[in-house]
């Protein structure tokens, strides 16, 4: 729920509450005032009538009308005044009309006369009744007003806020780098924007120094690695070396080579990050795969892997030749490496003009599918693997915004790339 919608709801609940209570109170208040006024008038009328009666001998003739009744009663009990509402059917208009009546008893000698004075309530009622629609209209006006104001607020006042959110959503270190400060006319948003700028600047700086560190350290490692490797090469030429010593040197040599491979992988990763492979060309994936498969031919034959190539659709993408080669090479190489020891199968399918699927048989994975592309995560079987292959694949896919996914069904593993 949007912030403005949420605050609107609270406003509306409060308004509705106050309005309901207010309307009810107001209704009774008005009614009370009107009745008081009417009652006062009735009493005055009664006093007037009684005053008049003092001088009259025969009351009936004088005062009986629509509004005043005087009748002689026998009892002497109710000597006080009584005010109440009643309704009388009007034969002319054929409706019941509400009246306010005052009943009073007047005593003259031994005779008791009941005086009833009434006043129509029609006017008062219409006054009271007209209050409700006005109240409802006001309420509606208020609600509409609140909604409109909120819309205005969200469009106008909150605009810089939503804009900032939008910019944050599209934030990445490669293209955006820093979300710069933008002045609005709200202090809080200015502050937020300022903080975001400071924060992204720091992130970018940290990212850069991290990147530089990675780059420099791997580059600086190259020379000592080369020296160690070459010295070892010279050392093994020595004629006086015993077998055990050769084994030791052999494993050092092999470790140095792994270190070199690892370092090359890291350099490749940082080069991709730095966008150093910017030369683009139109690459035919199917053709490239076919040439690549040639270099794997012997390895595939060696492990007796059955390869099924269904390159029926032509996939052509603009990308860097080296990177795409590396991408496909690593995928195929993995499909062979993680296959069964013998009699495995690899299927390469072009699903559509931009989807490639490579699946291979192989032991089920020891790790979750989502973690496949993490650096240095290795399947247990290939112990001498460096563990950078798939993260390089991922990096290349990220660079070109290819969607890559991995799924496995027991012993069938599938990598799917949407170019």
């Amino acid at each position: 729920m949007k912030l403005t919608a949420k605050s609107s709801i609270y406003y509306l609940i409060y308004t509705l509450f106050i309005f309901t209570i207010g309307t009810i109170l107001f209704y009774f208040l008005i009614r009370n005032i009107i009745f008081n006024t009417i009652d006062e008038a009735l009493h005055q009328e009664k006093n007037q009538v009684i005053e008049n009666l003092k001088y009259e001998k025969d009351f009936k003739e004088i005062h009986n009308s629509d509004f005043i009744d005087i009748i002689e009663v026998s009892l002497d009990s109710k000597l006080y005044d009584k005010v109440y509402n009643t309704s009388i059917y009007n034969y002319e208009k054929k409706i019941r009309i509400d009246y306010r009546e005052l009943k009073s008893v007047y005593r003259r000698g031994d005779h008791f006369y009941e005086i009833t004075i009434r006043q129509s309530l029609t006017e008062a009622e219409s006054l009271i009744n007209s209050i409700l629609p006005i109240e409802v209209a006001l309420l509606m006006g208020l609600i509409v007003g609140v909604l409109l104001i909120n819309r205005f607020i969200s469009n106008k006042i909150w605009e810089p806020f939503y804009e900032l959110i939008e910019r944050l959503k599209h934030y990445d270190l490669v293209n955006v780098k820093i979300i710069s400060y933008q002045k609005s006319n709200v202090d809080e948003f200015d502050e937020l924007s300022e903080i975001v700028e400071k924060m992204t600047t720091r992130i970018y700086r940290d990212f850069n120094s991290q990147k530089e560190f990675n780059e420099n350290s791997s580059h600086e490692l190259q020379t000592p690695l080369a020296i160690i490797r070459n010295k070892l090469e010279l050392l093994i030429q020595s004629k006086n070396m015993k077998d055990e010593e050769m084994v030791l040197i052999g494993s050092v040599f092999h470790s140095i080579n792994r270190l070199t491979q690892l370092n090359k992988g890291l350099i490749l990763l940082s080069k991709i990050e730095n966008n150093q492979y910017y030369e683009l060309s139109r690459i035919n994936i199917g053709q490239l795969l076919e040439t690549l498969m040639v270099s794997f031919e012997e390895l595939i034959a060696e492990r007796n892997i059955y390869v099924e190539m269904n390159i029926t659709k032509t996939i052509i993408i603009p990308a860097n030749q080296i990177l795409v080669e590396t991408l496909l090479f690593n995928i195929i190489s993995n499909a062979i490496k993680h296959n069964f020891e013998s009699d495995g199968k690899i299927t390469i399918d072009t699903i559509s003009k931009n989807i490639l699927e490579v699946s291979n048989t192989g032991k089920s994975l020891p790790m979750e599918a989502e973690r496949m592309f993490e650096r240095f995560l290795k399947g247990s079987s290939a112990e001498s693997s460096v563990g950078l292959g798939l993260s390089i694949v991922k990096k290349i896919c990220d660079l070109y915004k290819f969607k890559i996914s991995y799924t496995s069904e027991s012993t069938i593993h599938t990598i799917r790339i949407e170019f």
Binding site: M246, V247, F253, E298, S333
Partner: protein, 225 residues
Amino acid sequence: MKILLIEDEKELRQSIITYLSHEGYVCEVARDFPEGQEKMNTYAYDCFIIDLMMPGGNGLDLVKEIKTKNIKGGIIIISAKDTLDDRIKGLDLGSDDYLTKPFHLSELNARLKSIVRRRQFDGNTDIIFNEIRLIPENHEVFVNDARVTLTGKEFDLLLFFISNKGRVLPKDSIAEHIWGDHMDQSNSFDFIYTHIKNMRRKLVDAGCKDYLTTVYGIGYKFQTE
């Protein structure tokens, strides 16, 4: 055979010289750009091995100078930079080969031999070792003048072994020579083993002496005696 190595890193320089001297090359060194420039303009060499990033200048300028002044000799660039740009630029300027650091000395040696061979005996580049004769252009092998059919990889292996004959070759450098270096190849060793086994069998079947010996724990050696 005279070679000029222009490289600023002392340890690397020494290793390269030691390895190549054993091959019978006369190696001279230059520690930086001006020294390299001076030597190549003063003496004659069969091949130049040039590092790209050096104090005093870029190795590419030396390559350019060799070509424009028409100085004789092959050129191998050795560089820590592995960008396609540099590689293309180097080869375009007239360098014969481009090796990325770190490289195996056996690899440098093999490439050097191939360049020298191409340059020295134009037309006749056969490699002859006792009863074995290789014709690199056609990927053909003859043992006692009888043709032996080898696969592409087997031929590469044999050529690599003969280029580094008498040397102990670690499995890693053999794998890298055959596979290139742009991957971690966990299963390439078994693979190399099979190739070597097949190549060996084919040669022995054709009546060739088995020159190849296994060096325990390290790799192989192509015996010279």
